[in-house]
Amino acid sequence: MDPIFLIASAVALASAVNMVTQRNPVYSAVFLLVGFLAVAVTFLSLSAPFLAAIHVVVYTGAIMVLFLFVIMLLNLKPEELGAEYPIETRAPIAVLCAAMFGMMSWAILSDPSLAIPAKAPNATWGSVEEVGLLLFNVYALPFELISLLIIVAMFGALVLAKKRLSNVEATS
């Protein structure tokens, strides 16, 4: 058992639980940041150094900044946060999620082919070079499509954030 993984996963889970239970999104965002970093560490222990790096860059660098930026922009006061579900609603959902987790664990643990050490087959596993070759040879087309998606999403975000939703309002 990799001790790094143990620590990282413990941190990640703890911050995840905190994140979903925080009332104020600012705190949630902070916990999510911690969680992302811990997941990046997990990637490292799974012999995926390139991914770990990208993960940090994309999630903490881009996505989290975006979140925080929006939170600042909205600048929600505590009274604007709105109501949350009562415990009677949340408890069954928690049970449901726990049940899902239970099922998944059962499936994972009952598969003997997964009970093997997480060891990379070679030293260059997950390196920039290897992933890059794969990405631009075998998966070139999906890669291009994804870039298209991002462009469309950028435009979409621009249009959405710029335009007032007055006509949506009118139809509802």
């Binding site: 609603t89 069954p92 959902i93 449901l96 999620c97 899902m100």
Partner: protein, 652 residues
Amino acid sequence: MEIESSLYLIPLLPLVGFLVNGLLGNQLPKWLVAVIACTGPFIAFLLSVQALQALATHPEGLHQAMFSWISTGTLNVPFGLQVDALTAIMLMNVTGIGTAIHLYSYGYMHADPSFSRFMAYLNLFLAAMLMLVMGDNLLLLFVGWEGVGLCSYLLIGFWYQDFANVDAGRKAFIVNRIGDFAFLIGAFTLYSLTGTLEWHGMEQAVAALDLNAMVVSGPMTGMPIMVALMIAGLCLFGGATGKSAQIPLYVWLPDAMAGPTPVSALIHAATMVTAGIYLLGRMDFLFVLLPAVMGVIALVAACTALLSGLIAIAQNDIKKVLAYSTVSQLGFMFAGMATGFFHTGLFHVVTHAFFKALLFLGAGAVIVAMHHEQDIRKMGGLWKDLKGVSILFIIGSLALAGVPPFAGFYSKDAILAAVYYQAASPGASPEWMVIFGMLVFTAGLTAFYTTRLVVLTFFGKPADEHRHLHEVHWTMMAVLAFLAALSALAGVLGLGTWLDTFTHHVWSPPAVEVNEALEHTAHYVAMGSSTAVVVLGIGAGLFLYLSESRREALDRWTKGSGARVYGMASHKFFVDEFYEAFIVNPIGWLAKLLWGVVDRIVIDSGIVEGSALSVSGFSAALRHTQVGAVSAATTSTLVGVIVVVLWLVLHG
């Protein structure tokens, strides 16, 4: 020009006339419309004459194959035309009288704003009728059959601004459709027995059938062939009762008088209504095998003749009298066909076409002169003002009444003789004697109501002394004279015997054996009895209606003690009301009931929306645990995933 290869022109020419007048008629001057409309039928008439002459050298008939119309599987329906002796007679009848009535129509209708439409419809009718008699298979006959029905519908409702006319047309079409329903079943039955719809093929196949065997394949497997043939025969006759106005489907014909009078003359007297008789003649090979069916036909025909003869006595609309008389005469024709001496029926078709067309057209002239008044009680004394029309009309009436030596006498006599021959043949079923009696009585009735009609219309005191009669167009008079000549002379000149020899080879020999002695007896019996009843009928008619005082007494009787008897006849024995109450209305109620209850409540609200409601009820219950719609949706997704996974785990 070789006539056999130009047969197609006969139905095509009127069709062209229809297209030209139908599409451009509004732009053309009326005389041109009339010329176009009359040219087609006239050339068709000339071609028909040629075809008739050609038959002398081609006794087996002329045939022109055109193309394959419907061909699939084992079914092959060609589009081909044929002319044999039977068709040739019908052709002469249709094109000859058709042309005359076209000419008459110019005089009768030229003032109507929709004149071109009228002529176009007439042309279309002629094309369809020619198709009917010339088609070389049952389905082509059906094309014409439905086509003439359509034209009848259009022409009855020609003055469509009045719902009464339109409804009469609709009634005609729908009642005919009921007959067509039977027709189709008969055609299907025959097809499954013979595997073809062509006349020649069917004739050979029917001849090849072993009448004592069972059907071995197809839908009627295990049924005796005789029974299957009887079903076919009865169903085809059912179709004929629609088109040719026999019990139980005759009710449309009197209503059809709502159409313009030339239409009544052409379609509802001379040509279309004889299509059923043509069908019987065409299918003679089938009917001669089925004496029981022939008996049924004769009985139905005699009942129709009698019933409508009775109704005709009590009608006051000049056209209604003629209409019921037509139904009655059609009964005679069917009776003639049913004896197996098919030429007698055909003979009556021809003579009836002459004198009934004459009568209708004469009535048309009277109606025009009277400014569209049709009630004979309001006429009277027309003799003085309309001498020409009166004479011609009376000639037609004498022919209808069966007074020798007019044409009607000969043909009616031939039928009565044939029926008596049947009845008196050894081993004949007793019903034939009854039928003979009914027909003789009806012949008397015919003479009676014809006399009544003539007396009330042309003699006696005018109902209105100050009337100004409308002038009758010369084309109308010319046509009337032509038809009157035919009605007066056709019998004397030996049309009957000529028809017998000319068509003799096309008929299948009748089932009864020929007995010359009996034939002579039959002739004398028929002639004697019919002459007697005709004299009686005319005498009674003159006696009752010629004298003013007796007529008033009669009027009092019909309103007083005789009201019940007279009312039955004048209300047409309440047949229409009966159909209305027991067939038409229940179907309407059923439709409304099914729509209101089954469709909207049981199926729609009950099953469809019920299931939808139960779903929404279920989710309404779920909603108590969930406040938001989005969360509810996602949560239920999760629940679904868990259930599916659990199921897979437990069963995988």
